[in-house]
Amino acid sequence: MNRRMLRKIKNSAFLSLSLVATLTGLACLAAILWTLISHGVSGLSGRIFTQMTPPPGGQGGLLNAIYGSGVMTLLGILIGSPIGVLAGTYLAEYGRSSRLSTAIRFINDVLLSAPSIIIGLFIYEIVVVRMGHFSAVAGALALAVLAIPVTLRTTEDMLNLVPIGMKDSSAALGAYPWRTTLSVLYPAARSGIVTGLLLAIARISGETAPLLFTALNNQFWSTNLNAPMANLPVVIFLFALSPYKDWQDLAWAGALIITVTILLLSISARVLLALLRAERGS
């Protein structure tokens, strides 16, 4: 009897601890979102989207930073995702279980969780040092390197989900694999691949470390890809650590914008994936 009580108590103790752990995790997410909203909303105004980042003590907005982030993220995706999609296609369709593919899969998963500051140093060494100055191109390349593993992984997974019968039908009609891939597999896996792109955009648009010494920052409006370019994460970093109240407010507003964007992207990626699963299931 006593032993049974002890087991029961132990059971409820550990189960309550797991509940506490879950509540703590959820509380952290809530606390972060609450802080962002309460600090960020007050700083949000029309100025944010119409004016440039101000000098110390001055008033201004984040227009150049938002523009820079958009341009570099877009360029990063445009450069990185075709490589990721093609490499994923190779793994799913041509290489399948060769030793090379196993190695590439392994390296890709390692790159997926590699520290992004290392990628920043890498691009600094091979681009910034060669060109002799910081530039938006270097920033975009660093982001592209980060986008490749994400798109590769999802592309391979999604191509593997396409029913084998579709591939066989296409082959039976005499189509070469390239035709099958472009006309049958890609359309069938389209929403899955788009999910991968959304996840990649979400991943790279909040990255700070790889931009610190590639794109650097720029206080002014600049569309020159060959020059340093402002971007939200680095502006948030610099402004949040500054002693000026105006700058800190701008940092909070920027943080809110970036987080909302990324959460929306991740949620839409998830919804898309759920729809895809439902479609496949039926």
């Binding site: 132990k10 550990f14 601890l17 797991s18 509940l19 752990a21 879950t22 703590t24 995790g25 959820l26 952290c28 997410l29 972060i32 802080t35 962002l36 075709p82 999609v85 093609l86 490499a87 296609t89 190779y90 793994l91 041509y94 290489g95 090379l100 593919s101 590439i104 998963d109 390692v110 969780s113 590699a114 520290p115 500051i117 290392i118 990628i119 890498f122 060494e125 091979i126 490749i148 593993p149 070469y176 694999p177 390239w178 891939t181 909040g206 990255e207 700070t208 470390a209 610190l212 650097l216 994460p233 948030i236 970093f237 949040a240 650590l241 909070w252 943080a255 987080t259 990324i262 991740s266």
Partner: protein
């Protein structure tokens, strides 16, 4: 009726070759990136490594004025912050995974799972700014004074909790890191727990075991490899995390006996100083730090991946 046009077939074959080569080159590109990272870091680090030799990793000094650099303080900071993060995040992640797989009402399973995954999507700079403006003051006012009062005079570990409560420092960085890696650990463990065959668990319950006994004696032994893999994946993240740490570490190049004191980590030293570094030796020393981080994290992540892969193969064989 079939008309075979030899020209058409030849053209198809050419397209096939082009497409195949394009995908092959893209796949090889992934290997080239890793190789490129290794080679370029080694080249950038060479001046400092050849100048200081092995002593680079064994010296605490970091003086840009006299051009004397050693990596011991950043290494210590990286290891300590990650250790604190793991001590906090592993039990919590285990608890969340356990809750999601065994306890959670089915209706709440997805929303809570998604919330945990969204926490993983929040960019690290957000954790940094939150840690500096919200978490650090709370720790400084409430938690650290308590630690100093109650643990400061404890034998053996007392020195870890001595000194003034700065707010920012090794301990705060560890706590922020713990919150950051928590979703990764929880999500991996949940996926691993889900691979345990229901039959095994039901056998445990059939013998009269409590939920906890089934978890500890059936689920955990069965998913041991995956649990360790998930923990190491989280560790890899914690070791290399940059922005969240840079905000709250205090950036002091010294090793303090107290966890409450400011310190530095490999990644935050690079983030803070790289653009301001003047002189080849200074820049090269920072790149050497990057090379060290590369070696450490890639080893940890590769081991984690190898473990998770082994588990995947095994559960694939069972299914």
């Amino acid at each position: 009726m079939a008309i075979i046009d030899p020209g058409h077939a030849a053209k198809q074959l050419i397209y096939e070759r082009i497409f195949r080569s394009a995908t092959f080159i893209a796949a090889i590109f992934v290997l080239l990136i890793l190789g490129g990272v290794a080679v370029s870091l080694l080249r950038g680090a060479w001046p400092a490594l050849s100048h200081f030799g092995f002593s680079f990793v064994a010296r605490e000094i970091w003086n840009p004025v006299t051009d004397q650099f050693g990596a011991l303080a950043p290494i210590y900071g990286t290891v300590m912050t990650s250790l604190i993060a793991m001590l906090l995040a592993v039990p919590a992640g285990f608890g969340i995974a356990l809750f999601l797989t065994e306890l959670c009402p089915p209706l709440l399973k997805r929303p809570i799972g998604v919330a945990v995954e969204l926490l993983a999507a929040v960019p690290s700079i957000i954790f940094g700014i939150w840690g500096l403006f919200v978490l650090a003051p709370v720790l400084q006012r409430h938690v650290q004074p308590w630690l100093i009062r109650n643990l400061g005079d404890f034998p053996a570990i007392g020195h870890l909790f001595k000194g003034p409560p700065y707010g920012i420092g090794i301990l705060t960085a560890g706590v922020v890191l713990a919150i950051m890696v928590l979703p990764f650990i929880a999500a991996t463990m949940r996926d691993v727990f889900d691979t345990v065959p229901p039959m095994l668990k039901e056998s445990g319950y059939g013998l009269g075991a409590t939920t906890w006994e089934v978890i500890w004696n059936v689920v955990v032994p069965h998913s041991r490899v995956g649990i360790v893999g998930g923990i190491m994946l989280g560790l890899g993240r914690a070791l290399g995390e940059t922005m969240a740490v840079t905000f709250v570490i205090g950036n002091a190049h010294r090793i303090s006996s107290s966890l409450l004191a400011p310190g530095t980590t490999i990644s935050s030293a690079i983030a803070n100083e790289f653009t301001e570094a003047v002189g080849d030796l200074y820049t090269s020393s920072l790149i050497s730090l990057g090379l060290l981080l590369f070696l450490i994290t890639f080893t940890v992540i590769a081991l984690a991946q190898a473990m998770l892969r082994r588990l995947e193969r095994r559960s694939g064989a069972v299914a």
